[in-house]
């Protein structure tokens, strides 16, 4: 779907991206993760030609991006940035309709699509269509940003720290919602972040970058359990295993053994289950259909993704 081969980018002598190659499959959610200045945003912006690369080749849907007009390329790739950049002089409806309007869709189709998009991000069309961006909260604005990027049905979505400016509680909510949306739409997503927890929660694969180079590309559990070097180990130290638990649904680990106490929420993750176990000082907590044990959680991390595949 997206292929980078031997891509480099240098700005006046400084190499921001050094000879990287990456292949993103259709429907894959890939995370570019690394400390600030590692070249992850630059890599993302090379793909939709927001910046020109210095060397190497980039293919989007099997087509060399050099042979596609930049405006055409961008119209077919959803793009969400941290500052969102909603247009303050346009209503929410107009903001969402931006790319469909550029693509000259007919009015009726745009209208329906706009409403559909608001529904998708969990905002009611009646309440929000006529609002202006300054009337929205940070979380709402970010949802509109996602809706706007998805409006013209792009197959590919590039996201540059899209939830970075949202407060922690809303960020977790947005991440969960976005994961649900992705389950429905199966877009090919490239997502830039420096937040380890976010990366482990959302990504199908994680691409770790440092100083313009790709260090390791692997599934979340592989990266946490088998880090390639000390840098990556350090990067996840302290929260890698815990964040990984956030990926698993507790209900997949239920044992048919009764336990007493308050039932764990049905959509809880293993991380939340572990937190409850610690708080209740009990090695087994009940959940609808059985219970979750500390032992099961400890094992989960290790069997993790292998078993699911």
């Amino acid at each position: 779907m997206i292929k980078l081969s031997n891509v480099s980018k240098s700005y006046d002598g400084h190499e921001a991206v050094k000879n990287i190659s990456l292949h993103v499959k259709k429907g894959e959610f890939i995370i570019l993760l690394g400390p600030s200045g590692c070249g992850k945003s630059t890599t993302l912006r090379l793909i939709n030609k927001m910046i020109e690369r210095s060397s190497g080749e980039i293919f989007v849907q099997d087509e060399n991006i050099d042979s596609i007009k930049e405006e055409t390329l961008r119209k077919n790739i959803g793009y969400v940035i941290q500052s969102i950049g909603l247009f303050p002089h346009m209503t929410v409806a107009m903001n969402i309709a931006t790319v469909p309007l550029l693509k000259k869709w007919d009015k009726k189709r745009i209208e329906e699509r706009t409403k559909e998009m608001l529904g998708l991000v969990g905002l009611s069309p009646e309440m929000y269509l006529k609002k202006y961006p300054h009337e929205l909260s940070g979380g709402e604005a970010q949802r509109i940003g996602v809706a706007r990027a998805l409006a013209s049905e792009p197959d590919i979505l590039l996201m540059d720290e899209p939830f970075g400016a949202v407060d922690p509680i809303n960020r977790v909510r947005l991440q969960k919602e976005f994961k649900e949306i992705q389950k429905k739409l199966h877009k090919t997503v490239i997502f830039v972040t420096h937040d380890v927890e976010e990366a482990l929660f959302l990504g199908d694969r994680i691409c770790i970058m440092r100083e313009g180079e790709i260090i390791q590309v692997d599934t979340p559990s592989e990266i946490v359990l088998n880090p390639k070097d000390e840098f990556i180990r350090d990067f996840f130290r302290g929260e890698g295993a815990l964040s990984l638990l956030g990926r698993y649904n507790a209900k997949d680990f239920i044992e048919e053994i009764p336990a007493t106490g308050e039932l764990l929420a049905e959509n809880a993750t293993l991380k939340e289950a572990l937190s409850e176990i610690i708080l209740r000082q009990s090695e087994r907590i009940p959940m609808k259909g059985g219970s979750i044990s500390l032992e099961a959680i400890m094992e989960a991390t290790w069997r993790g993704d292998h078993e699911k595949d």
Binding site: N48, R74, K75, L86, H89
Partner: protein, 180 residues
């Protein structure tokens, strides 16, 4: 490059703005008198005195407030918004007309308002160089020490100024409503 162009336009305009209007009338007298010798300009009534110097001078004075506000208007558009527009596939023309211009317009309008009020005030001086208008009543009244004549000129000038200022302020508020 952009900065150079900006200076090339804004510096002469700022210098122009510092020339007192009466002096500017005087400076324009000779060139306009010469221009008036050409048949086309003669036929539309251009001469060293009369409406021509007032018209030219007042037009020149409007350039600075309108130019400066246009500049401020465009440079105050949030870079992230332009980045987003570009990222969604708008070309330069679309960014200019759909994003930058609408966002800069309220400030451009403010420049027009300042220029308008300043021009109505400045137009009084046209009376001194034979340009006519309400200014002639004011200066005639001053010469003859007649308050009635002065007021006959001044009251409509004040009324026109307030009216135009009010209208443009209202337009500004309407445009700005959704942005703030």
């Amino acid at each position: 490059m952009r900065k150079k162009l900006e200076n090339a336009v804004m510096v002469p305009l700022s210098i122009l703005e510092t020339i007192p209007s009466l002096s500017l009338f005087a400076i324009l007298l000779v060139p306009l008198a010469n221009l008036g010798k050409l048949s086309f300009f003669k036929s539309i009534g251009v001469s060293g005195i009369g409406w021509a110097p007032a018209f030219v001078a007042l037009t020149l004075y409007t350039l600075l407030p309108i130019g400066r506000n246009t500049l401020v208007g465009f440079s105050s558009v949030d870079k992230n918004i332009i980045e987003a527009a570009k990222g969604m596939g708008m070309n330069k023309k679309e960014i200019l007309f759909k994003i930058e211009f609408p966002l800069a317009f309220p400030l451009i309008l403010t420049g027009i308002r300042i220029a308008l009020v300043q021009t109505i005030g400045g137009a009084v001086l046209a009376g001194l160089v034979g340009g006519g208008g309400l200014g002639s009543f004011v200066f005639l009244g001053l010469a003859e020490a007649s308050p009635d004549l002065i007021l006959l000129g001044v009251i409509p000038i004040v009324a026109i100024t307030l009216l135009m200022d009010g209208l443009l302020k209202a337009a500004y508020k309407m445009l700005r409503r959704n942005v703030e």
